[in-house]
């Protein structure tokens, strides 16, 4: 019987209240289960207690799309991740397209969907080669292999879409990181937010830490000096925490 039929201007019967209370508690458990599991992850993986708490309601939470971590702009606002597409042209110079692009995706919501896709592509990235220091651990290797396969599946899907959209089987694409302008540079150098030096290419086959070192070298602070207020964080500090499927709403 529908809920409001039980009200009749008074309380539902005791048994109805009991049944509803059980359902309410179960639902609230599912609402809070995933955020707890997500928040209790560390560098070594999820907390066993957090996972145990979430396990009984996991299926319902996932099916009803309640499984989110709610880490908006957290733990720190990080750089953006885009996709650059190079389409060979008969004139010689390849045509270059950057996704997302406000001039080609309108309205804003459509642009934002493209932006979330490029972030998703980046967040599911796993390097083509596992770092040697991790190759000894079979569990890590197995996890890396699955994550790499997942990234390749997504890459393949995106490639097929772009090939159709740009009518070219020869196109190439790669991830691009648009780094944030630090406050000192912005004020002292009048740096524009879309200054070309803030974009760094992230090819698939080169480990990211090497790329970061390369870019960081000229501006690395001197030993003993302190970073200035509003300076962009270095390395992984700038990156949002990765969930299983960031960008999918977690």
């Amino acid at each position: 019987m529908p809920l409001e039929k039980r009200s009749d201007g008074t309380h539902p019967t005791r048994w109805w209240r009991l049944a509803l209370s059980v359902l309410i508690i179960g639902h609230l458990w599912a609402v809070i289960g995933r955020p707890i599991e997500f928040a209790t992850q560390g560098p070594t993986g999820p907390s066993p207690a957090g996972s145990l708490f979430y396990a009984p309601v996991r299926g319902y939470s996932e099916a009803a799309f309640l499984n989110h971590g709610y880490a908006f702009f957290a733990p720190n606002p990080g750089p953006s991740h885009l996709i650059r597409v190079e389409v060979p042209s008969e004139e010689g110079e390849p045509r270059s397209y950057l996704y997302p692009d406000l001039s080609r995706q309108w309205p804003r919501l459509l642009y934002h969907r493209h932006f979330m896709l490029t972030e998703f592509f980046h967040n599911t990235y796993q390097p083509a080669q596992i770092p040697p220091e991790l190759a000894e651990d079979p569990i890590v290797v197995e996890r890396w292999a699955l994550d790499r396969q997942r990234h390749e599946a997504i890459r393949g899907s995106i490639r097929r879409h772009l090939q159709r959209a740009h009518e070219s089987n020869e196109l190439t694409f790669h991830r691009v990181e648009h780094q944030l302008a630090g406050l000192p540079e912005f004020l002292s150098q009048q740096l524009r937010l879309d200054d070309p030096q803030l974009y760094i290419d992230l090819p698939d086959d080169e480990p990211e830490f090497r790329l970061r070192l390369r870019r960081d070298e000229p501006t690395e602070p001197q030993a003993g000096s302190l970073p200035r207020f509003g300076a962009p964080p270095q390395g992984d500090e700038a990156r949002p925490m990765r969930g299983n499927f960031p960008g999918s709403g977690r």
């Binding site: 529908p2 809920l3 409001e4 039980r6 009200s7 201007g9 309380h11 209240r17 509803l20 309410i24 639902h27 609230l28 955020p35 928040a39 996991r58 319902y60 996932e62 099916a63 799309f65 499984n67 971590g69 709610y70 880490a71 908006f72 957290a74 720190n76 606002p77 750089p79 953006s80 997302p100 804003r108 919501l109 459509l110 642009y111 969907r113 979330m116 998703f120 996890r143 699955l146 994550d147 997942r150 599946a153 997504i154 899907s157 995106i158 097929r160 879409h161 159709r164 648009h178 944030l180 302008a181 406050l183 912005f186 937010l193 207020f229 509003g230 500090e237 499927f245 960008g247 709403g249």
Partner: protein, 340 residues
């Protein structure tokens, strides 16, 4: 021992009062209009590039979307969508048309008993298909649609209410079945349960949003707002002038994390609720205007409406509509009947 028993009885009475006190549907009806409008807009925007997102050669195609959920690359999850099996462009267009019609009906309050659960279900199928292209907006619209379908949210400010009035004028009374399809705007337990679930869900969202921010140093040193403003891809209006006012953006950063973390406690007392809700409007309004997420900012403000008393909503809209603040004849009858 008696004290423990009394505490237990008091707790159960408080629980009952919190969850099962009949409540008017007016606030939920306004949230229904806004949520329906947002769903309609998101479905229309998706329709503008439908096959790029749902088609056989979408950014994330059907096989890939399915494999992200079915355990191919690790533990499976229970997210499922029949859209994974639809490759035909005609089928996808028909489905999208249905999504648009249903969300329009939800907004207008037409056949709400049917269209509210249908709107939620279709939205659920779409979000499980759109893996990779989702963000907070989708979480909030799905959540609101879920709670709206639990309550007679079409009882007022709706075409259902117009149809009900006309039928009553013609027939004098409605059968229980018609009365269920076209509910009267009386206080019900269903509205209370739906509202409480929405309120608590919102508290969870803010609490974990705040806790996550507390793990980042930029929210502590006050630079997070600068780095949000300096993100070119999010920017819709230029906010970089705040660079010249470090005290301003640092204070706004600290206010944001404080408000978000303690929302779940401060939104309940009547004394602090207006300030908490006003801050919500300011922060989400700022996100809507400056950070390129108009839809997300608006839907968060709508969700905060869960904390508005239905009596207050009813009086406000009656006044805005140029009518008396008094209840309509039907509302008076319901309010004074033994069932109301």
């Amino acid at each position: 021992m008696n004290a423990v028993a009394q505490w237990f009885r008091d707790s159960i009475a408080s629980w009952d009062r919190f969850w099962f006190t009949p409540r008017l549907p007016h606030t939920l009806a306004v949230i229904r209009i806004a949520t329906g409008a947002m769903l309609l807009y998101t479905h229309l925007v998706l329709a503008s590039d439908l096959l790029s997102f749902l088609g056989p050669e979408a950014w994330i195609d059907n096989a890939t979307a399915r494999s992200l959920h079915d355990g191919t690359f690790g533990p499976d999850d229970a997210g499922w969508s029949y859209l994974w099996s639809i490759d035909s462009a005609a089928g996808l267009w028909l489905h999208q048309l249905l999504a648009i019609l249903v969300s329009a009906c939800l907004m207008l309050g037409l056949a709400t008993r049917l269209t509210a659960p249908l709107a939620w279900f279709i939205q659920l199928m779409i979000v499980h298909r759109l893996t990779g292209a989702l963000f907070g907006l989708d979480q909030l619209t799905t959540m609101l649609a879920m709670y709206l379908m639990l309550a007679p949210c079409g009882a007022v400010y709706s075409l259902d209410a117009v149809i009900r009035r006309r039928m009553l004028k013609r027939r004098g009374t409605l059968s229980p079945r018609l009365g269920w399809w076209f509910p009267e705007p009386r206080p019900t337990v269903a509205v209370c349960v739906a509202t409480r679930l929405g309120q608590l869900h919102l508290c969870v969202i803010y609490l974990f949003g705040g806790l996550w921010k507390a793990r980042g140093e930029m929210w502590w040193d006050g630079t997070a707002l600068w780095f949000s403003a300096a993100n070119y891809e999010y920017q819709s209006l230029d906010l970089t002038w705040v660079a010249h006012y470090p005290v301003l953006f640092a204070a706004a950063t600290h206010l944001t994390i404080f408000w978000e973390t303690f929302y779940c406690a401060l939104v309940w007392p009547r004394l602090t609720r207006p300030f908490v809700l006003a801050t919500a409007v300011a922060i989400h309004g700022g996100i809507a205007l400056f950070l390129g997420m108009i839809t997300f900012g608006l839907i968060m403000i709508v969700a905060n409406g869960m904390f508005l008393e239905p009596e207050w909503t009813r009086r406000l809209l009656r006044r805005r509509g140029g009518g008396s603040e008094e209840a309509s004849p039907e509302e008076r009858r319901v309010a004074h009947s033994p069932r109301g």
